[in-house]
């Protein structure tokens, strides 16, 4: 009898990991195809990443090498985007800047998203005095327009790469704490949590294995929508002299350096701005698509 029963149970098919990956790629592609604007955003980001990957091949000039014989020359085959007032090749500088701006945006947003989500989730789960304090702290951080907060912190710390990274992390963390906290408060009332408690799971296991995965959607949406904004903040801070220092190849800084020549005819000095628009627009369109999908 026993043996017969065993043969009757449906054997668990174990999916090959590669096949599973393929299925999720296939699904993402299907989602992208459904919406033209999301697809456009996707290609903008892919294009920029492509440039970053190809940078060892396409950056043929030293982005920091000046050339006094070749100052402010318009785009040509030798200098695809022309040269700036120091004779530096703008194409090479723009590509190097793409690498830098994307790196700053991706790392700082991911860092504040993950730290903020954990703080928010824990604070929302336990509630009490710590949660109350956390709420007041986020209230205060969110009381300032983030650009002004960033400006103030950068003015105090001084313009530099690591200070910019820190500032980007700080100005964004409050919003992630708030989003994760709100989601946690509504999730923890669910019955699956009660079930997990009854079956003897530890609190940390419930938070990490059961609740956090269910809180991830709004955090993920917020993350994609913030990539573009982070790029704008980096460029804007550098433009007003409180981001990175010259001669760093950074989009905002390049425009700031060339502003007085730009408005008087050297239009090619504005090309890095088109890259900012491409990157921010790409992330915004992608973020909108993901939000529609999640909501």
């Amino acid at each position: 009898m026993d043996r017969e029963n065993k043969t009757l149970t449906v054997p668990k098919t174990k999916e090959h990991p590669l096949r599973k990956t393929w299925r999720s790629i296939d699904y993402s592609w299907y989602v992208l195809r459904k919406n033209n604007l999301t697809l456009a955003g996707f290609f903008m980001i892919v294009f920029l990443l492509f440039l970053v990957i190809l940078s060892p091949v396409i950056v043929i000039y030293d982005p920091y090498e000046t050339d006094s014989d070749n100052v402010l020359s318009p785009p040509s085959w030798r200098h695809l985007f022309g040269t700036d007032q120091w004779g530096r090749d703008i194409f090479s500088r723009t590509i190097v800047a793409t690498q830098l701006d994307l790196f700053i945006a991706l790392t700082t947003v991911l860092a504040s998203a993950s730290v903020g989500a954990i703080i928010g989730a824990v604070s929302g789960y336990f509630g009490g005095k710590v949660d109350l304090l956390m709420q007041r702290v986020t209230d205060i951080l969110l009381a300032f327009p983030s650009l002004i907060l960033a400006m103030g912190i950068m003015a105090a710390l001084g313009a530099s790469f690591w200070n910019l990274m820190l500032t980007q992390f700080v100005i964004r963390i409050a919003i992630f704490i708030r989003v994760a906290r709100g989601e946690m408060i509504s999730q923890k009332e669910n019955e699956y949590v009660e079930a997990a408690v009854c079956s003897g799971n530890s609190t940390s296991r419930i938070i990490i294995r059961h609740l956090l995965p269910n809180c991830i959607t709004p955090v993920a949406v917020m993350t994609t929508l913030n990539f573009g904004y982070a790029i704008l903040v980096t460029a804007t801070l550098s433009f007003i002299g409180l981001g990175l220092n010259p001669p760093t190849a950074e989009w905002g800084l390049m425009i700031s350096d060339g502003a007085s020549y730009l408005v008087l005819g050297a239009w090619w000095l504005s090309i890095p701005g088109a890259f900012i628009v491409l990157a921010v627009l790409g992330f915004n369109l992608l973020g909108d698509g993901i939000r529609d999908l999640a909501g």
Partner: protein
């Protein structure tokens, strides 16, 4: 009764925020680089003079005592003096804040006049060409850095097309400002009947205002569109349609009910325009508080920086509070939780 309690509760919650804003502002100023005593004395003062000035300015006092002094000064309306000009910061900012406000109001006017109708049309003619154009302009608007848009517009419309004036502030050099009545050049020149100055000030404010408006247009258009769409889905609109009410009446009803989120977005836009003015003012040499803050940062003049961050933070927080309260007034259905 409910409304009253709601307002009181919002105000009570506002107090710790005010406290926090001063704390953040103080902390940032505390860490600002540069020696305030050296900036105040100017030139190359002797070591003794510097030391004396530091003691006089209370720079050696413990942090908490300095915060306490800052707070008591603040409560008596004293924002300190600019080290550079030796004038009270309050006057320095008073001279400039109206330039910022004038620019913000003109931009807001453009936004409301263009953004709301555009949003309403987009909602009623969903998926039409106008809708697509409006959405594209909207998404582009929030993706374009304002400084870049400003520079490109200056290049195209001043340098190439010669339609707009150079980015040299509120009036061309050599033209006297109108007699000071309100501090807004447009209003002042109108009141004193100086049509030439009125024309010039409108001409000079146009490009910075258009730039600010384009960058801030998106939130209002988007919010109007989605708010009207939301309302149009509601049963009472369907009922109104089914009852055969004229389309005009339906427009009016829908817009009225979509008003709250639009109002909030307008409030937030004012906050963003004031904080974004720091960039626009640099691009157009507009002599407002944003440009002043940047100059103060460059010259290590601590008190104006402190005052600027405080004022922008307070304005932003106050606008948030007011829009929250406005919610309560406009929509009686709101639960005053």
């Amino acid at each position: 009764m409910g409304l009253f309690r709601y307002i009181v509760k919002r105000f009570l919650l506002f107090i710790p925020i005010l406290f926090g804003i001063t704390l953040v502002t103080f902390t940032i100023t505390y860490f600002l680089p540069g020696d305030p005593a050296a900036v105040r004395l100017g030139g190359s003062p002797s070591v003794e003079a510097l030391e004396e000035m530091r003691i006089k300015m209370g720079l050696y006092k413990p942090v908490w005592e300095r915060y306490f002094i800052y707070m008591s000064d603040l409560l008596s309306g004293d924002l300190g003096k600019s080290y550079l000009t030796d004038r009270p910061v309050l006057y320095e900012i008073g001279d400039r804040v109206l330039a910022t406000l004038e620019l913000s109001f003109v931009s807001l006017f453009i936004i409301v006049v263009i953004g709301i109708p555009l949003g309403v049309i987009s909602a009623f003619k969903k998926n039409s060409i106008i809708d697509h154009v409006a959405r594209f302009v909207g998404v582009s608007g929030i993706s374009i850095p304002s400084f870049w848009l400003g520079l490109v517009l200056i290049f195209l419309l001043f340098y190439v097309a010669r339609i707009f004036p150079p980015p040299l502030g509120r009036l061309p050099p050599g033209i006297d400002e109108p007699a000071r009545i309100t501090g807004f050049y447009i209003v002042d020149s109108l009141l004193s009947g100086d049509l030439e100055t009125l024309k010039l000030s409108l001409y000079y404010i146009s490009l910075p205002a258009i730039t600010t408006a384009l960058v801030n247009l998106a939130p209002i258009t988007r919010m109007t569109r989605s708010a009207v769409l939301d309302v149009l889905e509601k049963d009472y609109i369907k009922a109104a349609r089914a009852a055969g009410l004229p389309e005009r009446q339906i427009y009016k009803d829908a817009l009225k009910n979509a008003l709250i989120p639009i109002l909030t977005t307008i409030g937030l836009s004012i906050g963003f325009m004031i904080s974004g003015s720091i960039v626009i003012e640099k691009v157009f040499s507009w002599p407002g508080i944003g440009l002043f803050a940047l100059q103060s940062i460059a010259s290590n003049d601590h008190n104006p920086i402190q005052a600027y961050i405080l004022i922008v933070g307070l304005t932003f927080a106050l606008i948030n509070l007011l829009t929250d309260i406005a919610y309560g007034f406009v929509d009686p259905r709101i639960k005053y939780g």
